[in-house]
């Protein structure tokens, strides 16, 4: 499994298509595709570790793209705070499990694991 993180609109999907051979992807859901774009949106829809494990059992070589959402002022709304933190923690979990991790900045993918 490959994890690709980065800020919003940094070119993660373009990087994944060009460099990681991604052609088809699911958007914001843990769908039956080998690539998940906007994993942070899937977390909003309730994606958690059991759901991820079930997905990864079917797609061991998946490419997962996730916006980094934790680098702002702590939101006033409890749900927003919980979501941000959950996205971060699941990214830590995925990074530990991943064979490779890339971070995309201005379209440039840096391999960080």
């Amino acid at each position: 499994m490959i994890l690709v993180i980065g800020g919003r609109a940094q070119g993660k999907l373009a990087f994944a298509k060009e460099t990681l051979g991604v052609t088809d992807y699911a958007d914001g859901v843990l769908d039956d595709k080998n690539c998940i774009c906007h994993f942070e949106a899937a977390v909003r829809r309730g994606a958690d570790i059991p759901a991820l494990e079930e997905y990864l059992a079917r797609h061991p070589n998946a490419v997962i793209l996730c916006d980094e959402v934790g680098c702002g002022i702590v939101p006033m709304e409890k749900e927003e705070r919980a979501w941000r933190e959950e996205v971060g923690r699941l990214c830590c979990y995925l990074a530990k499990r991943a064979e490779r991790v890339y971070r995309v900045f201005c379209g440039i993918g840096e391999r960080i694991k």
């Binding site: 702002g72 002022i73 971060g88 990214c91 990074a95």
Partner: protein, 181 residues
Amino acid sequence: MSMLLISGGSGSGKSEYAEARAVRLHAEHGGALVYAATMLVRDEESRRRVERHRHMREGKGFVTKEIPFHIGELSVDPGDTVLIECLSNLLANEMYEKGGSGDICCETIVNGIRRLSSQGVHLVIVTNEVFSDGLLYDDSTMRYIRRLGAVNAALAAMADEVLEVAAGIPLVRKGERTACF
């Protein structure tokens, strides 16, 4: 003595990484292993957060010292390892809480940490990336963001090593790449 500054966003895994570095410094240098806790616990959510971090630290030999203000007054001995978590809380307390230093909050924090550093301790300092949501806030919050940026930059200039943690992975911003794990 040494100074290590660790930053990262919410849920980035920076606390866990900072603890691991502090534990290793302590194993190398002896002395006390001090956890300087800066959070004022007021509600259930912060209580749970403190609980979670306390659980993470359990069995690692940390002595917890509560210090929500005036970090320079922390009592330490030469050779101790001190993990300060985190600057974003410390700054908010200094700026907004009764007992804080108000307009001289940045100086209080930076000079306080300089003072600790001059006492020959090994410092691991956790800060927070709050700079990239692109939102406009009220004047006070904007001032807070600028001040945290200034404190981070001042401490990064003093630090031997500066790291950013993303998805639990340390990224070297200053210092030797070989030092991190």
